[in-house]
Assembly symmetry: C2
Homo-oligomer: 238 residues x 2
């Protein structure tokens, strides 16, 4: 497989960065080719703005998604965006590796999503979910957080973690058609022992060796919705 890891941590000595390094080593040992976009090291610009476009379909009024599509097709989209798009097109597996900030990804990674995952290539019209532009590729999110496992779940204080991460899991990756693997989570990272951290890294190595055969999560299927994206009658009865 070709694997792209997008990494977003501001401390190179962090445990989160160790997860990224572990993935590179373990995947290369498994015979895969790996590229890393280390967003802090790249000084990645996360702000979606008119400065991203060398030409304009409409110079008087900025509709960001329309200009993304227009500028990619015209070859006038900003170079940093184009390079990231080509890396995603190249990969068979996309891994997003980040610490949880406010129950989601840090802004620098949100801005990678905002700027790189463009209309036309990643999604467009009815080309979403299991008809999305990225179908046939796999994706996985790997994240660390301070909270403990018991703080997440149906009766837990923060609710279910899959639901907390729905904008990213469903609304972004599954929306574009990626076959999304279960998240890999490092809980309570700032507070655990060196042995606890070593165990997480060992678990991660094991996970990385199963990414080709793991069953993806289930999300909406376009087959269950009509042209207006209303649930079909049969689906409503269920």
């Amino acid at each position: 497989m070709n694997v792209l890891i997008v990494h977003a941590h501001n401390e190179p000595q962090s445990f989160n960065t160790a997860l990224k390094d572990t993935a590179v080593t373990e995947l290369e040992r498994g015979g895969h080719e790996v590229k890393v976009s280390d967003l802090y090291a790249m000084n990645w610009n996360p702000v979606a703005s008119g400065a991203d476009f060398g030409s304009r379909a409409n110079p008087d009024y900025l509709v960001y998604a329309l200009e993304q599509r227009h500028n990619y097709e015209a070859g006038t989209i900003a170079d940093d965006i184009r390079e990231e798009i080509e890396k995603v097109r190249w990969c068979d597996l996309l891994i997003l590796n980040f610490p949880i900030y406010w129950f989601s990804e840090p802004a620098i990674l949100k801005g990678w999503i905002d700027r790189v995952m463009i209309s036309g290539v990643f999604y467009g019209g009815k080309r979403i979910y299991d008809r999305g532009g990225m179908r046939g590729k796999r994706a996985m999110v790997t994240f660390t957080l301070g909270g403990r496992e018991h703080m997440f779940g149906p009766d837990a204080i923060h609710g279910e973690i899959e639901s907390m991460l729905r904008p990213l899991l469903q609304g972004t990756l599954a929306y574009c058609g990626f076959d999304l693997l279960p998240p890999f989570v490092g809980y309570h990272v700032p507070y655990i022992s060196p042995e606890g951290r070593a165990q997480i890294l060992a678990d991660y190595r094991q996970r990385l060796n199963t990414v080709e055969r793991l069953q993806p999560l289930r999300f909406s299927s376009m087959d269950d919705f009509d042209d207006r994206l209303m649930p079909k009658r049969e689906a409503q009865v269920l």
Copy 2:
């Protein structure tokens, strides 16, 4: 009331910006004082990094949240962050006004949250949810999106919109103790008629005139959880 509107749209002529302008006019007419942080106009930096800190509790290893707290107390946090913190402390009502990008806020606003909502002031230890640092203040999110209302709901293709926005609603605003009002949503904005847009603005004016008496949404209460944030026995029986 003192009202802070944090606005994040890259097109000054957008309908989203018209919602922000409507809020300023309507709230001032109602006798409230309004400040606006227009993040694109301010050229806001959304990247949480070591550059935010004029001193370091630990110069060798960056733990962003710990340095936020340390630097705020030491008076050495970046000026742009300090100014925003003081605006939030000043306000009685915080409005976040933005277009939906990937079922959440644009990166420029995510980075306002990442950098401004610091440990010690907004939350800390057990000072979360109804014991959070922002208790006594109200908050509301106002957003526009391309999707239609029927695309959101229990059986709809994207699921429920409140659940899609949980990282922001529960995981950020309610987590810090804000009394969170129901979101105000402008659906299908790029595709509707001028009359449709005028109707949304009229609905928004009406909403703005009720923000002082609207019932906040319900989230986790710390009374239902023990010192380890495990659900208390009585809560589990329910």
